[in-house]
């Protein structure tokens, strides 16, 4: 067995393919409800296949990038499943731990936590992992612990855990240009900084982003990094926009397929802007991107995120959503395409204030119409969105919330799952106050009830017609159906509590 000096890992909620259903991963952001925690973990984040060295066949894409950068630089580095760390006790000198929500402060984890009063599974799982014998032994033998990822900032709010776990360095931001230097220092026994924050000027160029060496969870492949829309609540938008060349994308798709991954998840903050002109989608590169995927693969394709303005613009001007869906995506094996979209607010006033470019090329005043038109386009073309709304954005007034509720009324006809999220200070709003349930107003409660009714209705419809239909996933399907029933019952119980909170 190779002697890996650098082990890259995470806890089970991250190191899973969520039964091949990316959306099921969201269950890790909530507490275990109606099921024992072990069962909940199986439902949301089952164990993954590993090789004889404990290296997972599929691993989170961010960890794959770190692994690739270190391997390219000549380090003996590998991603290892959290259950197999002890196999490498003899060789490990640096333990790198990545996560997108270490302590469940991110959306929507913090919201489920606040509403239910129970710690989300991702937090519990991560803390248990860091307290595991394997991690303690690794730290005990003097290895350095480096943590990072999009949730790196959360360590600033968990200094007791930082101390308890013996974390040496926290890396916040895109790591490609810093990670080799940090690991080299760690291996040489040089002093390490406690905290590294990588600003926009130090983000890697396209050429500096390495190609992954092993498969990513559910075939995720990055097609673009950064976002041009500049929403003030978002951290991604602080980074410059980079388009990954088609030949690199193809290479990564092939790596995933060769490892037996049976899906392709195109990742970008707005897939429809791939090869685009600023905020305007450009049909040709998008068609070439989908052609390239279909040339290699007949199975399911998904987009990680798309903006509603891009969906409307590309369909209205080029009939592009229909073309991509009919000519490339839908086939005998694929009956829908899943994507995350952001509504955030139904108020044109608030949209103009906190996300003035999200509606572009349409003006912010038209934002509710853009949202409704995009939902209609997606409904007709079997694109099923998981949409987010942000409750408690800085500067939000009761009237803004009412406008969002009015938009929800218009969206009720369109197949979608909508998730409200409490505002978390990130991006240009990093220094603002957190939203918590004590700030809830009766308008918020009305809005959240509308969202709940919408999502429960459409979740059942989607489950019945499209989702988790594979015979081997019958137990998962049963658990999900029971879960939906539980949420309905629980919501009826929760309503008086919420109302009482608002009244107080």
């Amino acid at each position: 067995m190779p002697d890996y000096e650098v082990i890259i890992t995470s806890d089970r909620t991250m190191m899973s393919n969520h039964h091949g259903k990316e959306f099921l991963g969201f269950l890790t952001t909530g507490p275990a409800l109606f099921l024992p925690e072990r069962m909940w973990l199986w439902l949301a984040a089952p164990k993954v296949r590993v090789d004889s060295e404990g290296r997972p066949v599929e691993a989170p894409y961010g960890l794959r990038k770190v692994e690739a950068k270190l391997v390219d630089a000549g380090f003996k580095a590998a991603i290892v499943d959290p259950d197999y760390l002890e196999k490498h006790l003899g060789s490990v000198k640096v333990l790198m731990v990545g996560h997108h929500d270490f302590f469940a402060y991110g959306p929507p984890s913090n919201e489920w936590w606040l509403l239910t009063g129970k710690e989300p599974v991702n937090r519990v799982s991560f803390i248990n992992f860091m307290r595991s014998d394997a991690v303690r032994k690794i730290k005990g033998k003097g290895a350095k612990i480096i943590v990072g990822g999009p949730a790196a900032w959360q360590w600033l709010w968990e200094l007791n855990f930082w101390e308890e776990f013996g974390v040496d360095t926290v890396v916040d931001g895109e790591a490609e240009k810093v990670i080799v230097d940090v690991v080299e220092k760690a291996l040489n026994g040089d002093p390490l900084p406690d905290y590294i924050s990588v600003g926009p000027l130090d983000t890697p160029s396209v050429e500096e982003i390495p190609t992954i060496k092993g498969a990513s969870v559910n075939g995720l492949v990055e097609v673009m990094r950064g976002c041009p829309r500049g929403c003030r609540f978002c951290s991604v938008t602080l980074r410059p926009l980079r388009h990954i060349p088609l030949e690199v994308i193809e290479k990564e798709v092939k790596i995933n397929l060769m490892s037996g991954v049976s899906s392709v998840l195109l990742h970008s903050e707005d897939v429809l802007l791939y090869g685009g002109n600023g905020v305007k989608p450009n049909p040709e590169p998008l068609i070439r991107l989908h052609e390239l995927v279909r040339k290699n693969f007949k199975g399911p394709i998904a987009w990680s995120h798309a903006s509603l303005a891009s969906i409307k613009y590309s369909e209205d001007n080029y009939g592009l959503i229909s073309k991509l869906m009919n000519d490339y995506v839908l086939n005998d094996e694929q009956k829908f395409l899943g994507v995350e979209v952001g509504i955030e607010t139904g108020s044109p006033r608030l949209a103009k204030s906190v996300m003035p470019a999200k509606s572009l090329p349409y003006p912010p005043i038209k934002w509710p119409d853009v949202v409704e038109d995009a939902f209609s386009i997606m409904h007709e073309n079997y694109v099923i969105p998981a949409a987010t709304l942000i409750v408690g954005l800085p500067g939000e007034t009761p009237d803004d919330v009412v406008k969002t509720a009015e938009l929800m009324d218009k969206l009720k006809y369109y197949r979608s799952v909508i998730v409200p999220m409490f505002f978390v200070p990130m991006g240009n709003f990093r220094n603002r106050d957190w939203f918590n349930k004590h700030y809830l107003t009766s308008e918020h409660v009305d809005l959240m009830l509308k969202i709940l009714q919408h999502t429960l209705y459409w979740a059942e419809d989607i489950m019945n017609k499209y989702y988790v239909k594979e015979p081997h996933l019958a137990p998962v399907r049963l658990c999900l159906k029971l879960f939906l029933q539980y949420v309905k019952w629980r919501a009826s119980k929760l309503l008086p509590t919420l109302t009482a909170t608002v009244t107080r």
Partner: protein, 120 residues
Amino acid sequence: MGLLSDGNTKRVVLVLSHDYVGDDLLDEVKKLVMSGKARRLTFYVISPDGRPKYFQKLRPMISSIISTSFTVVYGGSTAEDLRRLLKSIDGGIVAAIIVGNCDEFKEILESSGINYKVLG
């Protein structure tokens, strides 16, 4: 050359007293970043709070620096630690900021010929 060893990195020494609470450190660092003096910053922190508890006082500052890369290094808690830190830093200190009542630290900075600002 990597972010950690770049010659263009500006160095800032922060001496934080135990009882400091306030935003003037944040304002001072913002001025430094806005002045365009630094594309990258390294903060060397002397604090009696110990590692990593001293971050409690740095959260507002860290949350506010968006455009510039920076690293934070803990230098210890005592006057002797500051003396050792200054010896180990190979020049390039653009600012020293003392927050709170820390007279013994002022003397060390003065004797090293480093200009400092006192806040709080």
